[in-house]
Structure formats: structure tokens, C-alpha cells
Assembly symmetry: C2
Homo-oligomer: 268 residues x 2
């Protein structure tokens, strides 16, 4: 992989602020960043937008909106307001998309939860179209169905995209979440222009904490080269975000983590 395709997701260096995320990237000629919203909130939206513009870095995505299934718990109004704010933030910082983590299974019903998600993404898509912001729904690993995302497979995502049929709504492919599913990589050639984001890390064991056990590229069992070939071969022209949520790597100095990420990225 060419360094020109790399983006540094802020969760890889959890705890680092926007200024340091920019510095860590620029120092290594990484051309793009992907901040989570807390980094933007910490410095304020307009200041964050100025910092990013003056850095010359691209923003591969803003992480994240979503959590639509809170609606089923009577929280719908607040959830949609916050998602509209996230769209506005993505616009202000020039993000190429807003990543949506769609919310956990609610009412013990995976199918019912997907229906809620489909309707909510459809509603948000109309707002995003007016704002000129792209939305990327992200299937998460089934290990996270109970607390993060009832949307777990590429097939479920493409079903929702087909139902919504909006030019601003596509999919974010994170290999950590979908590597196990042969249908996922087989679906990539047909997705083509609907791929709005591509995230890389690796699958390692044991799982100690379902949200913080990811591996650095090359340390696990995912066919990263095969995935990169598939995604870029399908015509995706965007960045590959390095998003390694890992208690192990969070315990290391950010410089070491990013140096390692660059080395492993180039080796894919």
C-alpha cells in the first residue's frame, strides 16, 4: 500500500488531541486524518475546521453518528438532532464522509432493529443530501450487536442502501468487522461507487474487551492484501484508515504506534 492512501484514525492513538493527531500525521507524510467527534468538540468546531484547513491534511471521515436504535427507547428526537449536528460538523471540517455506527439490537429483535436503522438512515440521508455530506453506514462485528450495531454484515448494509437509494449514502468497509464473512469480500466488486470508507487493522486473539482487542495490521489472520486488492480493484479511490482500537497499543507512546502503523501499512 502506498502511504498516499493512508489516513490516521484518532482511535488508534486514543487520548491524543486534534493538534497532536495533525502533528503525528504531518511528521510522517500521512496525507489524511479521521478524527472522532470528541477531538472536534474539545477545541470547538470552527477552530477545529481552521486547524485542519491550515494543516493541508485531508479528512477521510468523521467518526461517528448513528445509534439510531435509541429511538426505540423513546430517545429518537435527541438521536436525530445529534446526527444532524454530526452532519454539520462533517461539512465544516471537510470530511469525505460521516461514519454511522447504527446502534445495537433493541427489544431483543435483530430484524426489528435493522428496520429502525433503515428508516433512520433514510431520514438522515435527506438532511445529508441538502448539506452535501456523504454518509457511510458501517457493518460492525456480530460481537458488537448487543452494544453497538445490529448492522453486522455487508449484505445487510447493501439491503439498506438499495432500499434508501440515495447518492450520498454508502458503506464503510472495516475489515476487522467483516473479514470472517466470505460473502463480504465477494460483494465488493458490485459495490464500486458505494464504498465511501475503508478501514484496516487485524483480527487477533484473545478478545479481552470487545471494543479494545484489535490487532495492528500484520499481527492477525485477515487477508489484508486481498481486501485492499478487492476494494481498490472495485474502483474505490479513497483513503485506507488505520483504526486500531487496542488496549495494548493505547499503552504505548503515540509516536511508536504511528511509526508501527506506517511500517505495517506499507507492508500490506
Amino acid at each position: 500500500m502506498d502511504l498516499g492512501r493512508m489516513s490516521l484514525n484518532s482511535m488508534t492513538v486514543k487520548g491524543v488531541g486534534l493538534a497532536d493527531l495533525i502533528r503525528l500525521s504531518k511528521d510522517r507524510d500521512i496525507p489524511a486524518i479521521a478524527p472522532w467527534r470528541d477531538l472536534i468538540a474539545d477545541v470547538g468546531l470552527s477552530h477545529a475546521a481552521r486547524m485542519i484547513r491550515s494543516s493541508g491534511l485531508r479528512v477521510s471521515s468523521l467518526c461517528r453518528g448513528g445509534m439510531f436504535t435509541h429511538e426505540a427507547n423513546g430517545d429518537g428526537q435527541r438521536s436525530m438532532q445529534d446526527n444532524r449536528r454530526a452532519v454539520d460538523e462533517a461539512y465544516e471540517i471537510g470530511a469525505e464522509c460521516l461514519v454511522l455506527v447504527c446502534g445495537p439490537v433493541t427489544h431483543r429483535s435483530p430484524r426489528g432493529s435493522l428496520d429502525i436503522i433503515r428508516d433512520a438512515v433514510g431520514e438522515l440521508s435527506e438532511y445529508a443530501l441538502r448539506a452535501g455530506v456523504r454518509l457511510a453506514i458501517e457493518p460492525l462485528h456480530p460481537m458488537l450487536a448487543a452494544n453497538r450495531s445490529a448492522l453486522c454484515t455487508v449484505r445487510q448494509a447493501t439491503d439498506i442502501l438499495a432500499s434508501i437509494d440515495s447518492p450520498v449514502t454508502g458503506i464503510c468497509i472495516d475489515v476487522y468487522h467483516v473479514w470472517w464473512d466470505p460473502e463480504a469480500i465477494e460483494a465488493i466488486p458490485d459495490l464500486a461507487d458505494a464504498i465511501f470508507g475503508f478501514h484496516v487493522s487485524d483480527w487477533t486473539l484473545p478478545i479481552n474487551g470487545e471494543l479494545e482487542s484489535r490487532g495492528m495490521m500484520g499481527d492477525g489472520c485477515i487477508d489484508l492484501r486481498g481486501w485492499a486488492d478487492a476494494v481498490y480493484g472495485a474502483g474505490y479511490g479513497g483513503f485506507a484508515e488505520v483504526e486500531v482500537l487496542s488496549a495494548h497499543w493505547w499503552s504505548m507512546p503515540p509516536e511508536v504506534v504511528v511509526d508501527t502503523a506506517v511500517e505495517r501499512f506499507l507492508a500490506i
Copy 2:
């Protein structure tokens, strides 16, 4: 759920031997057990068979054969020999099926691994047919794809069953592994006679150890009543095995664990 449908899987009381598994079940009028093979090996096959016959308990399954993808690592001969032994053991103890955990993703290829599994299950099915033993392939949670089972969904299992088309080969539905997938429960009505086993526990968080973080029925988010209705409504007439692999419950006295399991089973 009626106690007449309950079976106690030995992994719920890990560390307990066959004699105690029998005693724990009989003392509570649980009509069936499901021993893992280590319990049989510890007392010897013929002695184990006599103990079980004289107990009057049914054996809902023997756990487990499988691990076929070791074949891809040059280990095929030994793997198939051991699986034939497992079939023989299932016959000797009168198990209603031999559960197959089919083996992890090998060569970084989920699809290639499923192909290996399909061929191996087909080969073992011929041996099982001659032995008069039923095989139950079990889709495992995608969290276990790297170390236990490339077979992760009910759909993948039904594809394999359709390809093999053997009267002695069916599926084991463990709700812990497939609860997140709306297609899984939707497929149950069409499975009918192909369901050879039904396992219950619950999905709880956090995951601390991907093999030992299950919850007791009622402590998690799985629609256990819905699953029981679906499986028994489809015509399944067998036992529901309580299989709770849990570091938490393993730290408790076996009597407390089984008392709790009975109480929660009846409450489904």
C-alpha cells in the same frame, strides 16, 4: 420450558467428571446429559457407556468432533481418524448426535475453509451413516472464526447440508452463536427435521475471553422464548442443552450452577 426437555452440557460445570454430571442431573430430574469427550476418556469408553445406561439418562449429544480445517495444514489423516473415533464413541454411549465444531479459518480464506469443511463433513457422513450415528454441524459465533469455526451462520450450514444431502447430517442451533443474525431464526421453519440439537445460554458483556464469557439464560439479550418457540414450532422434538461456558459460573459450586440453570430454564 418443561424440565423434560432439559439436558445438562458438561461444559456448564467444567471440571466435573461423568459420575458427578450424572448425579447432578438425576438429583434434579434433568432427563439428559451432554458430555464432552474428555469425560468419556477419563473413565474409559465401555465403562462410560455402562454408567450412562444404568443411570437411565438420555444423551442429547456428544461434544465434539470436527476441526476439519486442520486438514489444510497437512493434518487431515489424523483429523479424520479422530472423527471416526468420535462417531464410534457417540454410538457406544447412545448419543442422539455427535456435535461438530468444524474448524477455524485457514490460509486466511473464509470461503476456502468452508469448502474444506463441506468436503470433510461429506466424507464423515458416509462413515456416520454406516455407524448409525447422526452428525450435527454447529455454526459458531463469528468471534470464534479464527480459532474454532469458519462455519458461522445458519445459512452457511444449510448450504453445506444441501450439498451433502445425507439423512444422518443436520444442524445444531446454539442461540449464543446465531442470535444476532435475523436470517438465522427466519430459516428455522424450513429446517424442521434437519435440527439435531438446540443449545441455550445468553449473550452478556463484556467479552473477557472469547470462549468463556457466556451468560446464564435470562441474564442477557437473547430472545430465548422466541427461539424456543421457533425451534419446537418447526417440529424439533429433542432436548435443549444448557451449555454455559463462563469463567464466572465455573467459579461457583456446581450445585449452585445447576440449580440456577434449572430455575432459568423453567422461566424461558
